[in-house]
Symmetry: C2
Subunit: 216 residues, 2 copies
Amino acid sequence: MAARLGVVSVVQAIVKSLRARIFSGELAPGTPLGEVDVAAHYEVARPTAKAALENLVASGLLTRNAHQTARVTLLSSRDARDIYRTRAIIEAEAVRLLASKRQVPAAARDANAEITTLADASPIDIIDPDIRFHAALVQALESQRTSAIYAQLTDEIRLCMTHVQDATLLSTQDIAAEHARLLQLISEGEAAKAAKALEEHLQTASSKLAEHLESL
Amino acid sequence: MAARLGVVSVVQAIVKSLRARIFSGELAPGTPLGEVDVAAHYEVARPTAKAALENLVASGLLTRNAHQTARVTLLSSRDARDIYRTRAIIEAEAVRLLASKRQVPAAARDANAEITTLADASPIDIIDPDIRFHAALVQALESQRTSAIYAQLTDEIRLCMTHVQDATLLSTQDIAAEHARLLQLISEGEAAKAAKALEEHLQTASSKLAEHLESL
DNA sequence: AATACGGGAATTGTCTAACAAGTACACAAG
DNA sequence: CTTGTGTACTTGTTAGACAATTCCCGTATT
Protein backbone atom coordinates (compact mmCIF):
# COMPACT_ATOMS: atom_id res chain seq x y z
CA MET A 1 0.00 0.00 0.00
CA ALA A 2 1.38 3.34 -1.05
CA ALA A 3 1.82 5.96 1.63
CA ARG A 4 -1.08 8.38 1.73
CA LEU A 5 0.30 11.79 0.95
CA GLY A 6 -1.54 14.95 1.82
CA VAL A 7 -3.02 16.37 -1.32
CA VAL A 8 -3.20 14.69 -4.67
CA SER A 9 -5.94 16.87 -6.02
CA VAL A 10 -7.31 20.28 -5.19
CA VAL A 11 -10.84 18.92 -5.45
CA GLN A 12 -10.11 16.13 -3.00
CA ALA A 13 -8.53 18.57 -0.59
CA ILE A 14 -11.65 20.74 -0.63
CA VAL A 15 -13.85 17.70 -0.19
CA LYS A 16 -11.78 16.62 2.78
CA SER A 17 -11.92 20.07 4.32
CA LEU A 18 -15.65 20.45 3.83
CA ARG A 19 -16.29 17.01 5.31
CA ALA A 20 -14.30 17.93 8.40
CA ARG A 21 -16.18 21.21 8.73
CA ILE A 22 -19.51 19.44 8.42
CA PHE A 23 -18.63 16.79 10.98
CA SER A 24 -17.24 19.37 13.39
CA GLY A 25 -20.56 21.17 13.38
CA GLU A 26 -19.14 24.34 11.89
CA LEU A 27 -21.39 23.76 8.91
CA ALA A 28 -24.65 22.76 10.53
CA PRO A 29 -27.35 20.81 8.66
CA GLY A 30 -29.30 23.16 6.45
CA THR A 31 -26.39 25.50 5.85
CA PRO A 32 -26.33 26.62 2.20
CA LEU A 33 -23.09 26.08 0.29
CA GLY A 34 -23.11 27.91 -3.03
CA GLU A 35 -20.50 27.19 -5.64
CA VAL A 36 -19.25 30.77 -5.67
CA ASP A 37 -19.06 30.91 -1.89
CA VAL A 38 -16.98 27.74 -1.69
CA ALA A 39 -14.82 28.89 -4.59
CA ALA A 40 -14.18 32.22 -2.87
CA HIS A 41 -13.50 30.61 0.50
CA TYR A 42 -10.81 28.30 -0.84
CA GLU A 43 -9.64 30.71 -3.55
CA VAL A 44 -10.22 28.30 -6.39
CA ALA A 45 -12.18 28.45 -9.63
CA ARG A 46 -15.89 27.77 -9.60
CA PRO A 47 -15.67 24.52 -11.61
CA THR A 48 -13.28 23.19 -8.97
CA ALA A 49 -15.71 24.06 -6.18
CA LYS A 50 -18.50 22.60 -8.26
CA ALA A 51 -16.69 19.28 -8.55
CA ALA A 52 -16.13 19.16 -4.81
CA LEU A 53 -19.80 19.89 -4.09
CA GLU A 54 -20.93 17.23 -6.54
CA ASN A 55 -18.70 14.75 -4.76
CA LEU A 56 -20.32 15.56 -1.44
CA VAL A 57 -23.80 15.43 -2.93
CA ALA A 58 -23.02 11.95 -4.24
CA SER A 59 -21.97 10.84 -0.77
CA GLY A 60 -25.15 12.20 0.75
CA LEU A 61 -23.58 14.87 2.93
CA LEU A 62 -25.01 17.63 0.77
CA THR A 63 -28.40 17.81 -0.90
CA ARG A 64 -29.15 19.75 -4.02
CA ASN A 65 -31.90 20.02 -6.60
CA ALA A 66 -31.24 21.25 -10.12
CA HIS A 67 -30.32 24.92 -10.23
CA GLN A 68 -30.60 25.22 -6.49
CA THR A 69 -27.81 25.87 -4.08
CA ALA A 70 -26.53 22.85 -2.21
CA ARG A 71 -27.20 22.57 1.51
CA VAL A 72 -25.83 20.40 4.25
CA THR A 73 -28.26 17.49 4.33
CA LEU A 74 -31.00 17.76 6.92
CA LEU A 75 -31.78 14.23 8.02
CA SER A 76 -35.28 13.21 9.04
CA SER A 77 -36.10 10.63 11.68
CA ARG A 78 -37.02 8.36 8.79
CA ASP A 79 -33.53 8.80 7.35
CA ALA A 80 -31.93 7.98 10.68
CA ARG A 81 -33.94 4.78 10.99
CA ASP A 82 -33.04 3.85 7.42
CA ILE A 83 -29.34 4.44 8.01
CA TYR A 84 -29.31 2.34 11.16
CA ARG A 85 -31.37 -0.39 9.52
CA THR A 86 -28.86 -0.58 6.68
CA ARG A 87 -25.81 -0.64 8.88
CA ALA A 88 -27.44 -3.30 11.05
CA ILE A 89 -27.68 -5.63 8.05
CA ILE A 90 -23.98 -5.37 7.37
CA GLU A 91 -22.77 -5.41 10.95
CA ALA A 92 -25.00 -8.33 11.91
CA GLU A 93 -23.47 -10.43 9.17
CA ALA A 94 -19.99 -9.46 10.33
CA VAL A 95 -20.84 -10.39 13.91
CA ARG A 96 -22.20 -13.77 12.81
CA LEU A 97 -18.99 -14.51 10.94
CA LEU A 98 -16.81 -13.44 13.85
CA ALA A 99 -18.81 -15.51 16.31
CA SER A 100 -18.60 -18.57 14.09
CA LYS A 101 -14.83 -18.26 14.28
CA ARG A 102 -14.84 -17.12 17.93
CA GLN A 103 -12.60 -14.34 16.77
CA VAL A 104 -12.70 -11.04 18.66
CA PRO A 105 -11.10 -8.20 16.67
CA ALA A 106 -8.35 -6.53 18.67
CA ALA A 107 -9.25 -3.16 17.20
CA ALA A 108 -12.81 -3.47 18.48
CA ARG A 109 -11.62 -4.39 21.96
CA ASP A 110 -9.22 -1.46 22.00
CA ALA A 111 -11.85 0.98 20.80
CA ASN A 112 -14.27 -0.09 23.50
CA ALA A 113 -11.57 0.18 26.13
CA GLU A 114 -11.12 3.74 25.00
CA ILE A 115 -14.81 4.41 25.49
CA THR A 116 -14.72 3.19 29.07
CA THR A 117 -11.88 5.55 29.89
CA LEU A 118 -13.90 8.45 28.50
CA ALA A 119 -16.77 7.83 30.86
CA ASP A 120 -17.07 11.40 32.03
CA ALA A 121 -16.02 13.08 28.81
CA SER A 122 -18.11 15.05 26.36
CA PRO A 123 -20.54 12.98 24.28
CA ILE A 124 -18.72 14.13 21.17
CA ASP A 125 -15.54 12.38 22.22
CA ILE A 126 -17.09 8.93 22.19
CA ILE A 127 -18.23 9.26 18.58
CA ASP A 128 -14.82 8.43 17.18
CA PRO A 129 -14.04 5.32 19.24
CA ASP A 130 -17.63 4.15 18.82
CA ILE A 131 -17.33 4.36 15.06
CA ARG A 132 -13.98 2.59 15.17
CA PHE A 133 -15.55 -0.18 17.23
CA HIS A 134 -18.25 -0.87 14.69
CA ALA A 135 -15.90 -0.42 11.73
CA ALA A 136 -13.58 -3.03 13.22
CA LEU A 137 -16.43 -5.54 13.16
CA VAL A 138 -17.19 -4.88 9.49
CA GLN A 139 -13.50 -5.09 8.64
CA ALA A 140 -13.66 -8.75 9.63
CA LEU A 141 -15.75 -9.56 6.55
CA GLU A 142 -12.64 -8.81 4.51
CA SER A 143 -14.78 -7.56 1.67
CA GLN A 144 -13.47 -4.56 -0.18
CA ARG A 145 -16.90 -3.51 -1.39
CA THR A 146 -18.70 -4.10 1.89
CA SER A 147 -16.11 -1.97 3.66
CA ALA A 148 -16.46 0.74 1.04
CA ILE A 149 -20.22 0.74 1.41
CA TYR A 150 -19.90 0.87 5.17
CA ALA A 151 -17.48 3.76 4.94
CA GLN A 152 -20.06 5.63 2.93
CA LEU A 153 -22.65 4.80 5.57
CA THR A 154 -20.26 6.03 8.25
CA ASP A 155 -20.40 9.47 6.70
CA GLU A 156 -24.14 9.55 7.16
CA ILE A 157 -23.83 8.17 10.66
CA ARG A 158 -21.50 11.01 11.58
CA LEU A 159 -23.95 13.39 9.99
CA CYS A 160 -26.59 12.00 12.35
CA MET A 161 -24.34 12.90 15.25
CA THR A 162 -24.10 16.52 14.18
CA HIS A 163 -27.89 16.76 14.36
CA VAL A 164 -28.04 15.87 18.02
CA GLN A 165 -25.06 18.09 18.79
CA ASP A 166 -24.17 17.65 22.43
CA ALA A 167 -27.39 16.06 23.59
CA THR A 168 -26.74 12.87 25.52
CA LEU A 169 -28.94 10.16 24.08
CA LEU A 170 -27.30 7.19 25.75
CA SER A 171 -24.95 6.96 28.65
CA THR A 172 -21.36 6.18 27.82
CA GLN A 173 -21.36 3.35 30.32
CA ASP A 174 -24.36 1.67 28.75
CA ILE A 175 -22.77 1.80 25.33
CA ALA A 176 -19.52 0.32 26.57
CA ALA A 177 -21.39 -2.38 28.45
CA GLU A 178 -23.39 -3.41 25.40
CA HIS A 179 -20.22 -3.50 23.32
CA ALA A 180 -18.50 -5.65 25.92
CA ARG A 181 -21.44 -8.05 26.03
CA LEU A 182 -21.35 -8.30 22.25
CA LEU A 183 -17.67 -9.18 22.24
CA GLN A 184 -18.31 -11.71 24.98
CA LEU A 185 -20.98 -13.47 22.90
CA ILE A 186 -18.63 -13.49 19.91
CA SER A 187 -15.88 -15.12 21.95
CA GLU A 188 -18.38 -17.76 23.08
CA GLY A 189 -19.35 -18.54 19.51
CA GLU A 190 -22.98 -17.56 20.06
CA ALA A 191 -23.59 -16.28 16.55
CA ALA A 192 -27.35 -15.88 16.75
CA LYS A 193 -27.33 -14.24 20.16
CA ALA A 194 -24.49 -11.94 19.21
CA ALA A 195 -26.28 -10.82 16.05
CA LYS A 196 -29.43 -10.22 18.04
CA ALA A 197 -27.54 -8.25 20.69
CA LEU A 198 -26.05 -6.06 17.98
CA GLU A 199 -29.40 -5.47 16.33
CA GLU A 200 -30.94 -4.46 19.64
CA HIS A 201 -28.01 -2.20 20.38
CA LEU A 202 -28.49 -0.40 17.10
CA GLN A 203 -32.26 -0.46 17.46
CA THR A 204 -32.21 1.41 20.76
CA ALA A 205 -29.72 3.93 19.43
CA SER A 206 -31.84 4.38 16.32
CA SER A 207 -35.00 4.95 18.33
CA LYS A 208 -33.38 7.51 20.59
CA LEU A 209 -31.93 9.26 17.59
CA ALA A 210 -35.16 9.27 15.60
CA GLU A 211 -37.05 10.49 18.63
CA HIS A 212 -34.64 13.36 19.03
CA LEU A 213 -34.85 14.29 15.36
CA GLU A 214 -38.63 14.43 15.50
CA SER A 215 -38.50 16.85 18.39
CA LEU A 216 -36.83 19.51 16.27
CA MET B 1 -43.51 11.45 -6.78
CA ALA B 2 -42.88 13.78 -9.69
CA ALA B 3 -42.99 12.27 -13.14
CA ARG B 4 -39.52 11.40 -14.40
CA LEU B 5 -38.88 13.25 -17.63
CA GLY B 6 -36.22 12.19 -20.08
CA VAL B 7 -33.17 14.36 -19.80
CA VAL B 8 -32.51 16.88 -17.11
CA SER B 9 -28.81 17.22 -17.68
CA VAL B 10 -26.41 16.68 -20.54
CA VAL B 11 -23.99 14.95 -18.20
CA GLN B 12 -26.64 12.52 -17.02
CA ALA B 13 -27.63 11.77 -20.59
CA ILE B 14 -24.05 10.91 -21.48
CA VAL B 15 -23.71 8.77 -18.36
CA LYS B 16 -26.88 6.94 -19.30
CA SER B 17 -25.68 6.38 -22.83
CA LEU B 18 -22.24 5.18 -21.80
CA ARG B 19 -23.75 2.79 -19.25
CA ALA B 20 -25.96 1.30 -21.94
CA ARG B 21 -23.00 0.93 -24.30
CA ILE B 22 -20.95 -0.76 -21.61
CA PHE B 23 -23.71 -3.19 -20.66
CA SER B 24 -24.44 -3.99 -24.29
CA GLY B 25 -20.85 -5.05 -24.80
CA GLU B 26 -20.13 -2.36 -27.36
CA LEU B 27 -17.56 -0.99 -24.93
CA ALA B 28 -15.83 -4.12 -23.72
CA PRO B 29 -13.88 -4.22 -20.46
CA GLY B 30 -10.47 -2.65 -20.96
CA THR B 31 -11.65 -0.23 -23.64
CA PRO B 32 -10.03 3.18 -23.13
CA LEU B 33 -12.36 6.17 -22.87
CA GLY B 34 -10.46 9.43 -23.07
CA GLU B 35 -12.10 12.70 -22.19
CA VAL B 36 -11.51 14.18 -25.61
CA ASP B 37 -12.83 11.08 -27.34
CA VAL B 38 -16.06 11.09 -25.37
CA ALA B 39 -16.42 14.84 -25.82
CA ALA B 40 -15.98 14.47 -29.59
CA HIS B 41 -18.35 11.50 -29.82
CA TYR B 42 -21.21 13.32 -28.11
CA GLU B 43 -20.22 16.75 -29.42
CA VAL B 44 -19.93 18.32 -25.99
CA ALA B 45 -17.21 20.24 -24.19
CA ARG B 46 -14.43 18.36 -22.47
CA PRO B 47 -15.49 19.36 -18.93
CA THR B 48 -18.90 17.87 -19.63
CA ALA B 49 -17.38 14.61 -20.78
CA LYS B 50 -15.06 14.74 -17.80
CA ALA B 51 -17.97 15.00 -15.39
CA ALA B 52 -19.69 12.03 -17.01
CA LEU B 53 -16.53 9.93 -16.78
CA GLU B 54 -16.03 10.85 -13.13
CA ASN B 55 -19.57 9.76 -12.44
CA LEU B 56 -18.91 6.36 -13.99
CA VAL B 57 -15.59 6.02 -12.18
CA ALA B 58 -17.42 6.64 -8.92
CA SER B 59 -19.89 3.88 -9.70
CA GLY B 60 -17.11 1.46 -10.52
CA LEU B 61 -17.89 0.98 -14.19
CA LEU B 62 -14.76 2.83 -15.22
CA THR B 63 -11.32 2.73 -13.64
CA ARG B 64 -8.80 5.53 -13.77
CA ASN B 65 -5.57 6.52 -12.09
CA ALA B 66 -4.41 10.12 -11.95
CA HIS B 67 -3.43 11.47 -15.34
CA GLN B 68 -4.29 8.22 -17.04
CA THR B 69 -7.11 7.63 -19.45
CA ALA B 70 -10.17 5.93 -18.02
CA ARG B 71 -10.92 2.37 -19.09
CA VAL B 72 -13.93 0.14 -18.78
CA THR B 73 -13.25 -1.74 -15.56
CA LEU B 74 -11.65 -5.14 -15.99
CA LEU B 75 -12.93 -7.30 -13.16
CA SER B 76 -10.79 -10.00 -11.60
CA SER B 77 -12.10 -13.25 -10.21
CA ARG B 78 -11.47 -11.74 -6.80
CA ASP B 79 -13.73 -8.81 -7.68
CA ALA B 80 -16.47 -11.13 -8.82
CA ARG B 81 -16.34 -13.08 -5.58
CA ASP B 82 -16.40 -9.85 -3.61
CA ILE B 83 -19.39 -8.53 -5.51
CA TYR B 84 -21.37 -11.71 -5.00
CA ARG B 85 -20.38 -11.89 -1.35
CA THR B 86 -21.66 -8.37 -0.82
CA ARG B 87 -24.93 -8.90 -2.61
CA ALA B 88 -25.44 -12.13 -0.70
CA ILE B 89 -25.37 -10.24 2.61
CA ILE B 90 -28.12 -7.91 1.50
CA GLU B 91 -30.27 -10.44 -0.31
CA ALA B 92 -30.04 -12.98 2.51
CA GLU B 93 -31.41 -10.44 4.96
CA ALA B 94 -34.24 -9.64 2.56
CA VAL B 95 -35.07 -13.30 2.17
CA ARG B 96 -35.13 -13.81 5.94
CA LEU B 97 -37.54 -10.92 6.33
CA LEU B 98 -39.79 -12.17 3.55
CA ALA B 99 -39.84 -15.69 4.95
CA SER B 100 -40.70 -14.43 8.43
CA LYS B 101 -43.77 -12.83 6.90
CA ARG B 102 -44.38 -15.68 4.44
CA GLN B 103 -44.62 -13.00 1.81
CA VAL B 104 -43.64 -13.85 -1.74
CA PRO B 105 -43.09 -10.73 -3.87
CA ALA B 106 -45.24 -10.79 -6.98
CA ALA B 107 -42.51 -9.11 -8.98
CA ALA B 108 -40.08 -11.90 -8.13
CA ARG B 109 -42.60 -14.56 -9.13
CA ASP B 110 -43.27 -12.81 -12.41
CA ALA B 111 -39.59 -12.37 -13.20
CA ASN B 112 -38.92 -16.05 -12.63
CA ALA B 113 -41.88 -17.02 -14.78
CA GLU B 114 -40.31 -14.98 -17.52
CA ILE B 115 -37.06 -16.91 -17.14
CA THR B 116 -38.82 -20.23 -17.57
CA THR B 117 -40.39 -19.08 -20.82
CA LEU B 118 -36.96 -18.10 -22.11
CA ALA B 119 -35.56 -21.59 -21.64
CA ASP B 120 -34.08 -21.85 -25.10
CA ALA B 121 -33.19 -18.21 -25.57
CA SER B 122 -29.78 -16.57 -25.61
CA PRO B 123 -28.03 -16.39 -22.24
CA ILE B 124 -28.05 -12.62 -22.52
CA ASP B 125 -31.81 -12.51 -22.43
CA ILE B 126 -32.08 -14.01 -18.99
CA ILE B 127 -29.83 -11.36 -17.42
CA ASP B 128 -32.61 -8.83 -17.21
CA PRO B 129 -35.30 -10.98 -15.60
CA ASP B 130 -32.71 -12.54 -13.31
CA ILE B 131 -31.69 -9.13 -12.06
CA ARG B 132 -35.31 -8.14 -11.64
CA PHE B 133 -35.91 -11.28 -9.61
CA HIS B 134 -33.17 -10.49 -7.13
CA ALA B 135 -34.00 -6.77 -7.04
CA ALA B 136 -37.59 -7.64 -6.15
CA LEU B 137 -36.32 -9.48 -3.08
CA VAL B 138 -34.23 -6.53 -1.92
CA GLN B 139 -37.14 -4.19 -2.54
CA ALA B 140 -38.97 -5.98 0.25
CA LEU B 141 -36.63 -4.48 2.85
CA GLU B 142 -38.26 -1.15 2.05
CA SER B 143 -35.00 0.62 2.81
CA GLN B 144 -34.15 3.51 0.59
CA ARG B 145 -30.43 3.23 1.25
CA THR B 146 -30.23 -0.52 0.97
CA SER B 147 -31.98 -0.36 -2.37
CA ALA B 148 -29.64 2.39 -3.52
CA ILE B 149 -26.61 0.37 -2.49
CA TYR B 150 -28.02 -2.68 -4.23
CA ALA B 151 -28.64 -0.68 -7.38
CA GLN B 152 -25.00 0.32 -7.36
CA LEU B 153 -24.06 -3.32 -6.91
CA THR B 154 -26.33 -4.22 -9.80
CA ASP B 155 -24.17 -2.12 -12.08
CA GLU B 156 -21.15 -4.19 -11.18
CA ILE B 157 -23.15 -7.39 -11.52
CA ARG B 158 -24.09 -6.43 -15.06
CA LEU B 159 -20.47 -5.62 -15.68
CA CYS B 160 -19.63 -9.16 -14.63
CA MET B 161 -22.02 -10.41 -17.28
CA THR B 162 -20.26 -8.51 -20.03
CA HIS B 163 -17.05 -10.32 -19.13
CA VAL B 164 -18.49 -13.74 -19.81
CA GLN B 165 -20.21 -12.50 -22.96
CA ASP B 166 -22.30 -15.33 -24.36
CA ALA B 167 -20.69 -18.16 -22.44
CA THR B 168 -23.27 -20.30 -20.71
CA LEU B 169 -22.21 -20.74 -17.11
CA LEU B 170 -25.44 -22.13 -15.74
CA SER B 171 -28.44 -23.60 -17.45
CA THR B 172 -31.53 -21.45 -17.57
CA GLN B 173 -33.60 -24.28 -16.16
CA ASP B 174 -31.35 -24.71 -13.14
CA ILE B 175 -31.55 -21.01 -12.35
CA ALA B 176 -35.32 -20.96 -12.60
CA ALA B 177 -35.57 -24.10 -10.46
CA GLU B 178 -33.41 -22.63 -7.71
CA HIS B 179 -35.43 -19.43 -7.78
CA ALA B 180 -38.66 -21.40 -7.53
CA ARG B 181 -37.33 -23.38 -4.59
CA LEU B 182 -36.32 -20.17 -2.87
CA LEU B 183 -39.80 -18.71 -3.26
CA GLN B 184 -41.26 -21.97 -2.00
CA LEU B 185 -39.17 -21.83 1.18
CA ILE B 186 -40.21 -18.21 1.69
CA SER B 187 -43.87 -19.10 1.40
CA GLU B 188 -43.34 -21.85 4.00
CA GLY B 189 -41.76 -19.43 6.42
CA GLU B 190 -38.45 -21.31 6.48
CA ALA B 191 -36.27 -18.25 7.00
CA ALA B 192 -33.01 -20.03 7.77
CA LYS B 193 -33.37 -22.55 4.95
CA ALA B 194 -34.40 -19.88 2.47
CA ALA B 195 -31.40 -17.72 3.37
CA LYS B 196 -29.12 -20.72 3.02
CA ALA B 197 -30.63 -21.64 -0.34
CA LEU B 198 -30.04 -18.13 -1.58
CA GLU B 199 -26.45 -18.09 -0.38
CA GLU B 200 -25.75 -21.38 -2.11
CA HIS B 201 -27.43 -20.13 -5.26
CA LEU B 202 -25.16 -17.12 -5.33
CA GLN B 203 -22.16 -19.13 -4.25
CA THR B 204 -22.38 -21.48 -7.22
CA ALA B 205 -22.89 -18.60 -9.62
CA SER B 206 -19.96 -16.79 -8.06
CA SER B 207 -17.68 -19.80 -8.38
CA LYS B 208 -18.59 -20.40 -12.01
CA LEU B 209 -18.08 -16.74 -12.75
CA ALA B 210 -14.74 -16.50 -10.95
CA GLU B 211 -13.57 -19.67 -12.64
CA HIS B 212 -14.41 -18.21 -16.02
CA LEU B 213 -12.65 -14.94 -15.25
CA GLU B 214 -9.48 -16.73 -14.24
CA SER B 215 -9.41 -18.55 -17.56
CA LEU B 216 -8.94 -15.32 -19.49
C1' DA C 1 22.21 -8.05 -25.10
C1' DA C 2 19.89 -6.21 -21.19
C1' DT C 3 19.20 -2.25 -18.57
C1' DA C 4 19.12 2.50 -17.25
C1' DC C 5 18.36 7.06 -18.68
C1' DG C 6 16.42 11.01 -20.99
C1' DG C 7 13.03 13.37 -24.32
C1' DG C 8 8.80 14.01 -26.49
C1' DA C 9 3.95 13.07 -27.12
C1' DA C 10 -0.37 12.51 -25.09
C1' DT C 11 -3.57 13.00 -21.35
C1' DT C 12 -5.47 14.82 -17.46
C1' DG C 13 -5.91 18.76 -13.78
C1' DT C 14 -7.04 23.34 -13.19
C1' DC C 15 -8.04 28.07 -14.35
C1' DT C 16 -10.28 32.24 -16.49
C1' DA C 17 -14.11 34.14 -18.86
C1' DA C 18 -18.49 34.07 -20.64
C1' DC C 19 -23.19 32.94 -21.98
C1' DA C 20 -27.42 30.17 -21.46
C1' DA C 21 -31.03 28.25 -18.69
C1' DG C 22 -33.55 27.49 -14.77
C1' DT C 23 -35.53 28.59 -10.05
C1' DA C 24 -37.22 31.41 -6.35
C1' DC C 25 -38.83 35.41 -4.51
C1' DA C 26 -41.07 39.80 -4.42
C1' DC C 27 -44.40 42.56 -6.32
C1' DA C 28 -48.27 43.99 -8.85
C1' DA C 29 -52.81 43.02 -10.98
C1' DG C 30 -57.20 40.70 -11.22
C1' DC D 1 -56.62 35.67 -2.00
C1' DT D 2 -55.05 33.92 -6.11
C1' DT D 3 -52.67 34.53 -10.28
C1' DG D 4 -49.30 36.35 -13.28
C1' DT D 5 -44.99 38.68 -14.23
C1' DG D 6 -40.42 40.20 -13.81
C1' DT D 7 -36.04 40.47 -11.85
C1' DA D 8 -32.08 38.71 -9.31
C1' DC D 9 -29.47 34.83 -8.26
C1' DT D 10 -27.67 30.30 -8.97
C1' DT D 11 -26.38 26.63 -11.57
C1' DG D 12 -25.35 24.28 -16.33
C1' DT D 13 -22.47 24.34 -20.16
C1' DT D 14 -19.04 25.94 -23.31
C1' DA D 15 -14.53 27.68 -25.02
C1' DG D 16 -9.71 28.15 -24.84
C1' DA D 17 -5.45 27.93 -22.48
C1' DC D 18 -1.59 26.50 -19.54
C1' DA D 19 0.60 23.46 -16.06
C1' DA D 20 1.67 18.95 -14.34
C1' DT D 21 2.12 14.24 -14.79
C1' DT D 22 2.49 9.86 -17.04
C1' DC D 23 3.76 6.72 -20.64
C1' DC D 24 6.36 5.23 -24.46
C1' DC D 25 10.32 4.96 -27.20
C1' DG D 26 14.83 5.71 -28.74
C1' DT D 27 19.41 6.19 -27.21
C1' DA D 28 23.32 5.39 -24.57
C1' DT D 29 25.67 2.79 -21.20
C1' DT D 30 27.26 -1.27 -18.78
